[in-house]
Amino acid sequence: MSQLTEAFGIAIRMIFSGDPVVYSIALRTLLIASVATLFASMLFVPLGCLIYFGRFRGRRLVVAFIQTMYSVPTVFVGMLVFLLVSRSGPMGSMGLLFTPWAIILGEIALIAPIITGLTISALQSTGQGLADTAAALGASRGRIILKVLSEARYAVLTSLLMGFGRAVSEVGIAIMVGGNISGYTRTLTTAIALGVGKGETAASIALGLILLSLAMLVSIAVNLMQNRAG
């Protein structure tokens, strides 16, 4: 027990003294997850809209599949991305493996279902009545889509935050395609995994606390968004 409290003490000191290694890892993690979320939002919010507004056969099946993929194991995504970006793989010539970009690619794939699926849900919960009313008032299809989207904006933002939360806290992809290279691809989670293995408890706790604070910020933001959306 005293070992644990001692480790916590050192961890807190590391955080407040601005330990450069700890902070550069935290900053890198934040950047990687942010870039991944940004790219994913540009691709998958539109895809969500397309699926919601496009009345095609098998739509429910597609939505069910997307929802299943919410809990896709990160190591599975990591493995697929590894095979894709490894030099012997189809994207090998781009030299992405063991760089931050490989992690970003993996995280985009990881959070694609969450962002697509939650965008669809967001549109569903605000859309139906609104779309009917707007249609009854003679609005064009384009206007209806814009209206529904703007009405659902907080719920859509929530989906981005959820995606960010999953990206920032995952470890399987970062370790498999990033390689946990010190000063280059080491993220909060991979540093914790290594630190625990090496018995460096205090540093691992410090990194864990930072990760937890990030998760808390995301959760607070989600709550604020949901209040606005509600």
Partner: protein, 300 residues
């Protein structure tokens, strides 16, 4: 609005392509400076640091040896050395796929196969130490003083004292399998199915030691990692004598390396007199004893 999003994005990208805590602030001397290829666009080029990748077996990473040698090589050549750690099996696989430039591993048969298959230039031994069977001080299976082969027979016959295997296709795992084989057991048929006492951990050496410690189990460890972790463990060396326990580390340049010259320089670096001396002295101050014996030029 749009421009601000893009400016934020470009800052992200700049930060990601540059590197974090290891950015070198000291100017590199003229002679060592990498050749700058100037971009024809006229936009100020992002300083590109060349990166070389070495995949290493976990024991050379967990003991801190690579962390100690890495900055020296980086400074000498003005590059970034990316050190990736994995079991020998995975490190060799990365080499086969062309994902790393150099590997440092410890499994002679597989290294020779790697070179024969044309994936590696040459197997160059650079250091050795020994494996140990470590376990609880009380030695519940009574294997102290035995040869490694006798010890595993005793473990099998006792059949209840836990033994944690790496179980991860690493060099240490390969050594364990070869000890079982020379003791007369078929690994897949006799050992893996022997019972609950035989635990396949599936982790690196450090975590495996921690696991064995928690379980009051025996395990096979390289001496370097054991010494580096000793402070946190109650495990003691039980079996430490026998020819089977020799543990040789080799460096191999991967044939598909994108920078053969620099890869060859890394091999030369490890077997240079200066670095051989450093490897021999490594850990003496902290642990009070040598972790690795340098062996460049020896047939091992």
């Amino acid at each position: 609005m749009k421009t601000s999003v893009w400016s934020i994005l470009s800052i992200f990208i700049l930060t990601l392509t540059g590197c974090g805590e290891q950015q070198q602030s000291e100017p590199i001397s003229e002679a060592d400076a990498p050749i700058e290829v100037s971009e024809p666009t006229g936009i100020e080029p992002i300083p590109r640091v060349e990166r070389l990748r070495v995949a290493t077996t976990t024991s050379l990473y967990d003991t801190g040896l690579w962390g100690y040698l890495e900055p020296m090589f980086e400074e000498a050549h003005g590059i970034e050395l990316d050190v990736l750690y994995a079991g020998t099996g995975r490190a060799l696989d990365w080499g086969r796929r062309g994902d790393v430039d150099v590997i440092t591993v410890h499994s002679r048969n597989r290294e020779e196969e790697f070179v024969t298959d044309g994936h590696g230039v040459e197997r160059v031994p650079f250091a050795y130490n020994y494996f140990l069977i470590v376990g609880p001080e009380s030695d519940p299976a009574g294997i102290s003083g035995m040869s490694p082969e006798e010890a595993v027979v005793a473990l099998m016959e006792t059949g209840e004292v836990p033994f944690v295997s790496r179980g991860d296709d690493s060099g240490t795992h390969g050594k364990e399998i070869s000890i079982w084989a020379s003791a007369g057991y078929d690994y897949d048929e006799d050992v893996r199915t022997a019972g609950e006492w035989y635990v396949e951990g599936g982790s690196g050496m450090g975590p495996t030691l921690v696991m064995a410690d928690e379980m009051g189990a025996y395990t096979l460890s390289d001496i370097g990692t054991y010494i580096a972790y000793q402070g946190d463990l109650t495990l003691v060396p039980i079996v430490d004598e026998g020819d089977a326990l020799l543990n040789v580390y080799s460096v191999i340049q991967v044939t598909t390396s994108k920078d053969p010259e620099l890869s060859a320089a890394l091999v030369e670096f490890l077997i240079s007199d200066e670095v051989q001396q450093l490897i021999g002295d490594y850990g003496v101050e902290v642990y009070g004893r040598q972790l690795f014996t340098p062996c460049a030029g020896e047939e091992l």
